[in-house]
């Protein structure tokens, strides 16, 4: 496709092409607030004071208080620790299973590939949300189980994407060259295949984090995720939603932070996608 130079330049400078990390900075800032501020605050997440129940935001309680008089600023930040923590941990689980799985299936191709991918297809046909809901309802509701359940669902897409990338890369002549030069399969995967699909992996991992946070929050909203007295953004939003018209601040602040995090991570993912030129 031939285009005038000016047009090419414009394409290159269009907003999606610009390499920008503000999403990352924004996310890091929120994460830092969530982990650091509770250390220095005079309030803690458990401290109840019924006399100060459901107060509007003030200088003492920046985000107001909940029905039990707990400080919502601290609860929102502590909830963020859980939401972000689950998001990162479950993404890591997905990455640890999906990456090697996809690399092996894509690299060895043939029967191994079709067998491995058949399994993924079977699991893919399962109703995801339903399985996660089932798991969390039936097997208790610990945080560990929560991210295992979510990670177990999310690795499938990771495996598919890595596999597609790998089987495209292995067609290249430099792979046969490496093979002729006497490199083992293991070395080829590690030195040639993996570095070439790292962009895709990064982009997809970053986009998985908000998806996981969303899933965790949905579960917590249904009362299936994080259990009190611990809290997550989903649980806080769920509490706030019940008293929306009376104490609007109870839903406002957790929602704002939650949405901002999702927005930042999604934008970061999209920017990285444009940067690495990934189409998935």
């Amino acid at each position: 496709m031939h285009k005038p130079a000016k047009e090419l330049l414009k394409d290159h400078m269009s907003p999606t092409r610009k390499k920008s990390y503000w999403g990352l900075y924004c996310f890091l800032l929120i994460a830092a607030l969530c982990w650091l501020v509770p250390f220095f605050s005079s309030h803690n997440i458990q401290e109840t004071n019924l006399a100060k129940g459901a107060q509007a935001p003030s200088l003492e309680h920046w985000f107001g208080t909940d029905d039990l008089g707990r400080d919502l600023f601290i609860r929102t930040l502590a909830g963020g620790q859980v939401s972000i923590g689950v998001g990162l941990a479950a993404t890591l689980v997905a990455l640890m299973i999906g990456l090697p799985y996809g690399l092996i299936a894509g690299y060895y191709a043939g029967r191994i590939d079709s067998l491995m991918m058949r399994l993924v297809d079977v699991l893919y046909a399962l109703p995801f949300t339903i399985i996660v809901i089932l798991l969390t309802t039936l097997l208790g509701r610990s945080i560990a189980l929560l991210f295992i359940a979510i990670g177990a669902v999310e690795w499938l897409t990771m495996a598919r994407i890595v596999r597609a990338q790998t089987s495209a890369i292995r067609q290249n002549t430099y792979i046969s060259a490496a093979r002729t030069a006497g490199l083992s399969h293991r070395q080829i995967i590690r030195q040639h295949i993996f570095p070439n699909c790292i962009g895709t992996v990064i982009v997809y991992s970053v986009l998985t984090i908000p998806a996981v946070i969303l899933l965790e929050s949905t579960l917590s909203f249904l009362g299936l995720g994080i259990q009190p007295p611990a809290s997550s953004w989903g649980a806080l939003i769920s509490e706030g939603a019940k008293k929306l018209d009376v104490y609007p601040w109870q839903i406002l602040f957790p929602t704002a932070l939650f949405s901002l995090t999702l927005f930042a991570l999604n934008q970061l993912g999209e920017n990285l996608r444009a940067h690495y030129d990934v189409n998935t």
Partner: protein, 305 residues
């Protein structure tokens, strides 16, 4: 097409067997049973109830019994809604979820497609730069955030719409809007990316060079071809909309299948949970097949893939 359908249906059988077995085991391994209530039943009453439903038999016998019934198309009696067959519960609540899902789907398309097309046609210009971040915002406002906010605005503050229930036609508006907006954002981005790519193709240039009416080029050639990747996404979307309405149903008190499912899992209502899971699985398999067939019909080359 027939052979593909047949092959997929054959492939679905092991999948369904796997789902049935896994769900069965999971349910039985989980602590608690359908007749453990807060107010405990007298042991002899409980034993009698369990014997009535065959829960006193060895696990493998129960499993074979269930599979046998399943082959005859019976999902068994619900343990919580005494006297109700699972088929009847699903038959009564699923149409509600289906209707909600379809309205939400229409909302998602009606919002998502025009935004995506407009953004692609005005790539990089102000309209695009306005529309895309707005649609990204849609992804960040999941149903359980948007739902309460819409409720606050339209029923508490303005009093235009009923906050709960599923009676009049206007009760459909808020749930469908809440559910559809989230997916509209994805559809808009997908449509934009896809259309941008199609607009670069040589056949668009040649259609323009031929002097075809620009609106015709966009509508007939570009948009039609750009729809393919969107369509691949629409299948899972529609399935997700129809099966994933738990949150919406609990916010707006819609008597759909999602509500029943979550409640059944809490109650350990074994047959209802299994029946619902299998029903959803069959539904998703059908959707995937349908989408693949439509894609082949639109683009016969994708058959080889």
């Amino acid at each position: 097409m027939l052979s593909i359908s047949l092959r997929r249906i054959v492939q679905a059988i092991p999948t369904l067997c796997f789902i049935a077995t896994a769900t069965f085991l999971l349910l039985r391994l989980a602590p608690g049973g359908p007749f453990d209530q807060e107010k405990a039943l007298a042991p002899e009453v409980k034993a009698q109830v369990e014997a009535f439903y065959g829960l006193d038999q060895p696990l493998w016998q129960q499993y074979l019994h269930y599979l046998g019934n399943l082959l005859q198309g019976e999902l068994g009696p619900s343990y919580k809604y005494a006297g109700w067959q699972v088929e009847r519960i699903i038959g009564q609540s699923f149409p509600v979820s289906l209707e909600l899902g379809c309205w939400a789907f229409l909302v998602a398309l009606a919002i998502g497609l025009p935004i995506g097309i407009a953004a692609a046609l005005k790539n990089g210009r102000i309209l695009d730069q306005l529309l895309m971040p707005t649609s990204a915002l849609g992804i960040c406002l999941p149903p359980f955030v948007l739902g309460p906010v819409l409720l606050l605005i339209f029923s508490s503050a303005c009093g235009w719409l009923n906050p709960l229930g599923w009676h009049s036609a206007s009760d459909r508006i808020l749930p469908a809007l809440t559910m559809g907006t989230f997916y509209a954002a994805f559809i808009a981005r997908l449509m934009r990316a896809s259309l941008l790519e199609v607009l670069q193709q040589n056949y668009i240039t040649s259609a323009r060079a031929k002097g075809l009416n620009p609106a015709r080029v966009i509508g007939l050639h570009a948009v039609r071809n750009a729809l393919h990747p969107v369509l691949a996404y629409l299948g899972p979307t529609l399935a997700g909309l129809i099966t994933g309405s738990f949150v919406i149903e609990s916010i707006f008190f819609v008597p759909g299948l999602g509500q029943f499912f979550v409640q059944a899992a809490f109650n350990r209502d074994y047959t209802l949970v299994m029946g619902t899971v299998l029903f959803y699985a069959v539904l998703i398999l059908c959707f995937n097949l349908l989408v693949d067939l439509i894609q082949i019909w639109l683009n016969p080359r994708s058959r080889d893939a």
